[in-house]
């Protein structure tokens, strides 16, 4: 169950309903607080102590850590729950691509460009990669700093600096002043030096140990000095029975965090890139890396470092991230109405779909992608996909009739033909009865619309 409720938050507010926070009531302010759309500082009627108590109460059990700076800053962690249905997950997993200081200049450029150019349009959102991770394969500070230099000039996003040697890390930090990089990693052997560096250069600090007790011990030591910007790496064993241990470890850490074990209340990271060690089959390794990346994205990793730069291998990660970080409390929907694509005229086809975001954006991007000239009727089907809406009767003849009337479609076209998705073929008769229009059952998938129109329209 959710850790805190709106009622409990409300209990800590002044209950004046004075609207100074921009909300109608204290209760709606409480909801906004829980959704992180407002902060305790937005209510002027709290005393210092009350505010402290409120902050303390609403601070998520998994600490939120920021890396990168300016527009490129990302936040990770900050989670409240173990399962998304208990509330929602707030900060999407950051995806970083691996660069080594021993790679050729061309390969490094290729990797920078991969992160900069990768972009998928899905459901009205643009999905991108977030960060670059630079590791000191050579162990040489000079080599490392010159790689960091090259990367930092071309890439303005967050950077992870990886070496267990403080002097190597410092050579990179000097170049990344004010960019809030992430240092990887503090260990039992080097943590004091790494902590000094993190403080001196204002960086976040990854803490690595494959033993949970040592990990908790390290964060206890470090937090005792007042430093809290930590990320935990409990190590990832990707094959054999190590995988079971890793899954256990990640789950135990997140679960402990939710149970307010504060030593473990930091975001987790995972490095599926380790799979590439000793691998000789590029495709199989990219495949497995992506697969494992998805497993640990679901099992609580807030930062993932990948080596593969195959477009197809990154795609599942970005898609999964979009899926599991959506808000389970609402159906994602768009406005209904009549939309035009290209330059339609009185003979152009009229297509019908629903207002579920995924459906609308999929259809819409297809119509645009193929430069079609047409009208699209987006029916208010309570945000359901085509076949769900058919099953619930939220897509039906009367709704389509009303939409035709209200949108003025009849003045735009001189024919009376509607094209509906194949999955709505069941309600063809109903639509014809209610609207008086002819209904043509279109293809199953909206990407097949161009081919279909070529064959069946004029």
């Amino acid at each position: 169950m959710a850790r805190i409720t709106a009622m409990q938050v409300y209990g800590l507010l002044p209950k004046k309903n004075c609207k100074a926070c921009g909300e109608e009531t204290c209760m709606s302010f409480a909801l906004k607080l829980m959704n992180r759309e407002k902060t305790p500082f937005d209510c002027p009627n709290l005393s210092g102590a009350e505010r402290e108590a409120l902050i303390d109460f609403i601070t998520p059990p998994v600490r939120e850590v920021r890396i990168g700076s300016g527009d490129n800053e990302i936040r990770i962690g900050g989670e409240e729950v173990l399962y998304r249905h208990e509330l929602k997950l707030f900060n999407p997993t950051a995806l970083a691509i691996d660069i080594s200081d021993s790679m050729s200049a061309e390969e490094i450029d290729e990797r920078i460009e991969f992160v900069q150019n990768y972009c998928v349009e899905r459901v009205g959102e643009t999905l991108t990669l977030d960060a670059l991770s630079i590791r000191s394969q050579s162990g040489d500070a000079k080599k490392f700093s010159s790689t960091v230099e090259v990367v930092s000039e071309k890439f303005s996003g967050p950077i992870v600096l990886c070496s267990l040697k403080p002097e190597v890390i410092e050579s990179g930090l000097k170049i990344l002043k004010d960019r809030k990089p992430l240092i990887y990693a503090a260990t039992e052997g080097n943590w004091e030096d790494m902590l000094d560096l993190a403080k001196k250069y204002n960086a976040a600090l990854a803490v690595y140990s494959e033993d949970i007790e040592s990990l908790g011990n390290l964060t206890r030591e470090i937090s005792a000095t007042g430093f809290l910007d930590m990320i935990l790496d409990p190590g990832l064993n990707v094959i054999g029975n190590g995988l079971r241990n890793s899954l256990n470890t990640y789950t135990m850490i997140r679960k402990s965090a939710i149970k307010e074990v504060k030593e473990l209340g930091y975001p987790l990271m995972a490095v599926p890139a380790v799979i590439w060690k000793g691998s000789d089959d590029k495709i199989a390794t990219s495949f497995y890396e992506s697969f494992i990346g998805c497993v640990f994205m679901d099992k609580f990793a807030s930062l993932i470092i990948m080596h593969s730069i195959d477009y197809w291998a990154a795609l599942p990660l970005l898609t999964l991230r979009q899926n599991i970080y959506t808000d389970p409390r609402t159906e994602p929907e768009v406005d209904s109405g009549m939309f035009t694509y290209g330059n339609p005229d009185e003979n152009s086809p009229v297509l019908v779909t629903t207002n579920f975001s995924l459906t609308y954006f999929t259809v819409s991007s297809d119509l645009r992608r193929f430069n079609l000239d047409c009208y699209l009727l987006v029916v208010d089907a309570k945000g359901f996909a085509v076949d769900t809406a058919v099953a619930t009767n939220d897509l039906n003849g009367s709704k389509i009739r009303d939409l035709i009337k209200n949108s003025g479609l009849e003045d735009k076209v001189k024919h009376k033909k509607l094209i509906i998705p194949l999955l709505a073929s069941q309600i063809r008769g109903d639509i014809e009865d209610k609207t008086g229009w002819d209904v043509v059952v279109g293809p199953r998938d909206s990407s097949q619309i161009p081919g279909f129109l070529k064959e069946h329209w004029e």
Binding site: Y83, G189, R244, T251, M252, K255, V295, T362, A385
Partner: protein
């Protein structure tokens, strides 16, 4: 403990050997990192009390039902799934006596399969019995799903008798347990599945699927009469699933002869709904709700409804890789959410998921690369 702290008080440099001599073994066990560490660390650890970790184990009052498919008494093989007493894959909280299982899909007619799947089955696509043999012999199927899609009135509208013949051929051809699925046509499936139940008497097959929108009682009664299992299908709705299960039991089928299909949405096309539905169902079962304590089936091949799996799109990279990866990830997400059995299509995706399951159950001898060296690894 006191002892040790006293020892360290004021000690700037301390050789580990010197120190070991002064503490007894118990204390050393409590401070394992001391043995590895340098003197400087000793000083630091003495400031803060050492963190001790307690596994976050919860109490659960119930468990998932154990269910077997395949003849109860014969030399033929059978599989058993379910029985877990912990949230999905939380091995630190309990155990899972039976490994999750992958069921290999095959169809009674050559339908429009994705080309990247078809290539594996050229030559047997028109012969379900041969197709079944290939699944068992070449792809190590432990259980197969025969989809009788040709019975759909909107396709070939083949008869219940034709379907029975196909089922008998497949039963003859292989000795693994079967899931037998109708076409999904709500009007025709009851008739088809009833006939299937009859010809499969004694085989203890899983009849797929019954849902609230069809004459499910007819199928359930046949399952009772001929001793089979049924798959209870309700789309992403735990309350509806509970009701369906109760209705099935009202018709006389016992609890341990039901498997649930809460519907698997493809990655990118509803997987998050499946994840949350399965997690909720599993949680409810552990909290004692017997009506939701059956094992969960994941219709993983639904992943092929995602265009990322099959669309020819050069920018996205070869669909030959995308498709199986999409299916493998879709299946894995349901595994992580509580599914016990997976209906799957692509041999590559099945292999990936099976490997994962084997690793999780400690059956893979492979050694993981040493993680701590990833920083200086060389990638060829």
């Amino acid at each position: 403990m006191k002892n040790l702290e006293d020892l360290l008080e004021g000690a700037d440099e301390l050789e580990i050997e010197d120190f070991v001599m002064d503490v007894d073994e118990i204390e050393l066990e409590m401070f394992p990192q001391l043995v590895l560490g340098k003197a400087r660390e000793l000083k630091a650890t003495s400031r803060v009390e050492r963190f001790s970790f307690k596994k976050p184990v919860d109490e659960y009052i119930s468990e998932v039902m154990e269910v077997s498919i395949g003849p109860r008494s014969s030399s033929k093989k059978k599989i058993t799934i379910g029985g877990s007493n912990m949230p999905a894959l939380c091995f630190f909280e309990g155990d899972m006596p039976n490994k999750p299982v992958v069921a290999h899909d095959l169809f009674d007619m050559a339908l429009s399969l994705p080309s990247s799947v078809k290539q594996y089955f050229e030559g047997v696509l028109d012969d379900p019995a041969e197709w079944a043999k290939k699944q068992v012999n070449d792809f190590n199927a432990e259980i197969i799903t025969l989809h009788l899609i040709s019975t759909d009135p909107n396709w070939r509208d083949t008869s219940a008798k034709d379907a029975a013949k196909t089922v008998e051929d497949v039963l003859q051809a292989v000795d693994v347990p079967l899931i037998i699925s109708g076409s999904g046509n709500l009007d025709k499936d009851p008739e088809i599945l009833e006939k299937v139940a009859e010809v499969c008497e004694g085989e203890n097959v899983l009849l797929s699927a019954v849902n609230p929108m069809m004459d499910y009682a007819r199928v359930v009664k046949a399952a009772v009469k001929y001793d089979h299992l049924v798959l209870s299908l309700v789309s992403m709705d735990p309350a509806g699933m509970k009701q369906m299960n109760r209705n099935i039991m009202k018709e006389g089928l016992s609890r341990e002869r039901i498997i649930m299909d809460p519907v698997t949405g493809a990655l990118g096309y509803g997987i998050e709904y499946s994840i949350s539905t399965m997690e909720r169902i599993r949680w409810t079962a552990l909290m004692g709700d017997k009506d939701l304590s059956m094992p969960i089936l994941s219709g993983t091949s639904n992943s092929w409804s995602a265009r990322e799996a099959w669309l020819e799109e050069r920018n996205w990279g070869p669909k030959e890789f995308r498709g199986p990866l999409w299916e493998a990830v879709t299946g894995t997400m349901t595994l992580l959410s509580g599914a016990d059995i997976f209906m799957m299509l692509h041999p590559g995706a099945m292999k990936a998921l099976k490997n994962l399951i084997n690793s999780l159950f400690n059956e893979s001898g492979e050694k993981a690369p040493a993680y701590r060296e990833w920083i200086n690894m060389e990638v060829k």
